[in-house]
């Protein structure tokens, strides 16, 4: 089995976990930079998936399963630019798929995608299914990369019908060690929001991401099918206002015309990545249906959206207005009132 993008925390965790599965003989981790975390018994091969050398790695190790996780929104560490991320996402996927197409041993391909391929617009239906066409295609950034990556993957699936292809569209991934732009956003002391909009958000827990990737990379269990495209998200939704209250971080509403300006100002000082697609998500929100994930893929997430969020919130420490303190204040007020009445 070959896993790309292993220098990331999440991929590293997946590599460490998948080795313990009995079906897996060997795991080869690939990335352009060596990972900081250990990969267990997995072999690390330093290779840039943007170069044709990746085909040699596939042939040399007689890889049968490829898990493509190097589709990401942000550069790793500091110093990486958006251009290089885009190149890794798009050119890297093209090279990897080209290599897979030539390889006679590859039988299974799993691609980590994102629900951001649906975009977020006021004219979209409230809940997206796997087949909903987006009203306005993402115009740039990671969402566009993901759309293009999925396009290449569909082309590959047509050319190699013998390879089982599974595309997993993950909702926003949260958990104790999440390093996504949204996790950075929720770590700000005050949350800038778009005035007059309260987006619905959906989260999926890191542990569930690892589990669903394992289901997708093995042979399907009885009565399930693990090739195709699946939305992966925890049950239920949280609105941004609920998130901020549960985190105990106050919000600062910003008027929509000023949002891009504030966003770029924050990005310049390096606080967090406020890409236009991130702003659109935080304006209109996005919710997906997960019936396919449950019924076809046979995966039941352990964490609901709210549970994934509270696990994340616990790992981030209290905000300026901790919900417990607010609850205590209200309780004190109510005892005061009832005493007065008696």
């Amino acid at each position: 089995m070959l896993v790309t993008g292993v220098a990331r925390q999440l991929s590293g965790r997946f590599v460490r976990r998948i080795q313990r599965d009995p079906e897996v003989d060997r795991v080869i981790g690939v990335d352009a930079v060596p990972p900081d975390h250990h990969l267990g018994d997995a072999d690390f091969v330093r290779a840039d998936i943007r170069r044709p050398a990746i085909a040699r790695v596939l042939a040399e190790h007689r890889v049968d399963t490829v898990v493509h996780m190097a589709v990401t929104g942000t550069p790793l560490g500091t110093g990486g630019s958006r251009t290089s991320v885009k190149e890794t996402n798009v050119i890297g996927t093209m090279q990897l798929l080209g290599a897979c197409q030539k390889s006679p041993t590859v039988q299974r391909l799993v691609v980590k995608s994102s629900t951001s391929v649906y975009g977020s617009a006021p004219r979209d239906p409230a809940v997206f299914t796997e087949t909903t066409p987006p009203k306005s295609l993402p115009s740039g950034g990671f969402a566009k990369d993901a759309v293009e990556v999925e396009g290449y993957v569909r082309g590959f699936a047509r050319r190699r019908p013998d390879v089982a292809v599974c595309v997993l569209r993950f909702a926003n991934i949260l958990g104790p060690c999440a390093d996504s732009p949204l996790a950075d956003y929720f770590s700000l002391p005050v949350l800038p929001t778009v005035f007059g909009y309260d987006p619905r958000l959906q989260f999926v827990h890191e542990d569930d991401v690892i589990d669903v990737l394992r289901i997708a990379s093995h042979d399907p269990r009885r009565g399930t099918m693990n090739s195709g495209t699946f939305n992966v998200a925890g049950d239920g939704v949280l609105t941004l206002s609920q998130c901020s209250r549960r985190l105990g971080r106050p919000t600062v509403p910003v008027l929509l015309p000023a949002v891009t300006w504030v966003g770029s100002a924050l990005r310049t000082v390096g606080v967090t990545d406020f890409s236009p697609e991130q702003i659109r998500l935080l304006t209109h929100g996005r919710v997906v249906r997960t019936v396919q994930m449950r019924e076809t893929l046979g995966f039941d997430p352990r964490y609901t959206t709210a549970e994934a969020f509270s696990d994340f919130a616990d790992s981030r420490g209290g905000g300026l207005l901790p919900p417990e303190a607010l609850a205590r204040t209200v309780d004190r007020l109510s005892t005061l009132v009832s005493k007065e009445r008696i």
Partner: protein, 292 residues
């Protein structure tokens, strides 16, 4: 924290205690984010406790809405309420929601389908989602009906709400009858609904088309008072309203491919439209005056 048992003390003191305790419990849940919204963003608690109390004075005191035939809305399972649309501003939708919310014995809540403009406007979109409204598209409507919700739709859309005063109570075209095929696919009955009184709240005597185009809205109303009196002109006239729910039209028993049959769709659409129009005329004849 559990609310205390109500005590019928002298002067209703127990009632007040209970209300304060209930209010504080509500405040506590809101402040800590400990409440639920559904996938469409519907916040049941906020709608029941806050939003409905905000429009109730308008519903009870200002328009004095009279509701007839509420028993035509089934107590359980999905149903599609199809109503006429009028009044320049979609107050009729809100009144319809309040009518179902406050009068239905099973305490059902209406899930309105709203135009995309609603979801583009700041504040409005937020409140609409929390009150349980969603975008008028087949996907959302079908999903809600399948979940057994009562869904409200006004198929005339902007044609109905933005029609001139001279055409009051004349139903406009009902789109392409998309609502019928949605109801058919979900197997939900269609409840026709006629609203009298909304047409006269803002008598639209003109439409500033150029201004509307510049502002990106479907019409810019000119009434005897708006925009001449400024914000004061935006106060609706205190008309007396009647909302009548008609006999439900069942959609079960059609074959699966019926939803794609255009002839059947047009026939059913016409049946619903005729019934609403007929009831409108009947209510208008019964009405003593616009304001009383």
């Amino acid at each position: 924290m559990t609310p205390k048992e109500p005590k019928a003390g002298p002067g209703g003191g127990g009632g007040w205690d209970r209300r304060i305790a209930g209010g504080l419990a509500f405040l506590r849940r809101r402040l800590t984010g400990d409440y639920e919204v559904d996938e469409f963003g519907y916040d049941e608690e906020l709608t029941d406790k806050v939003l409905m109390s905000m429009i109730r004075p308008l519903y009870e005191k200002y328009f004095r809405v009279e509701v007839k035939g509420i028993e035509n809305i089934p107590s359980e399972g999905g149903a599609l309420i199809v109503a006429n649309h009028s009044g320049t501003l979609p107050l009729d939708g809100l009144m319809l929601q309040a009518a179902v919310h406050d009068n239905h014995p099973a305490g059902r809540n209406l899930r309105l389908l709203a135009a995309d403009l609603v979801f583009m406007l700041p504040v409005v979109n937020e409140l609409a989602r929390k009150a349980g409204h969603t975008l008028a598209c087949a996907e959302d409507a079908e999903e809600l009906l399948r979940r057994g919700e009562v869904v409200g739709v006004m198929p005339e859309g902007f044609k109905g709400i933005g029609k001139p005063f001279g055409e009051r109570y004349k139903l406009q075209r009902f789109g392409r009858g998309g609502f019928v095929s949605t109801a058919l696919r979900a197997g939900a009955p269609i409840v026709p609904c006629s609203i009298v009184g909304a047409e006269e709240i803002y008598p639209m005597i003109g439409n500033a088309r150029t201004l509307a185009r510049v502002l990106g809205i479907p019409y810019f109303p000119i009434t005897p008072t708006f925009p001449w009196l400024g914000p004061l002109g935006a106060v609706p006239l205190p008309t007396k309203w009647t909302i009548q729910f008609g006999e439900p039209i069942p959609t079960e028993g059609y074959p699966a491919e019926a939803a794609e049959d255009p002839m059947l769709m047009f026939n059913l659409t016409d049946q619903v439209r005729e019934q609403i129009q007929h009831t409108l005329y009947k209510l208008l004849v019964q009405r003593r005056s616009v304001f009383f």
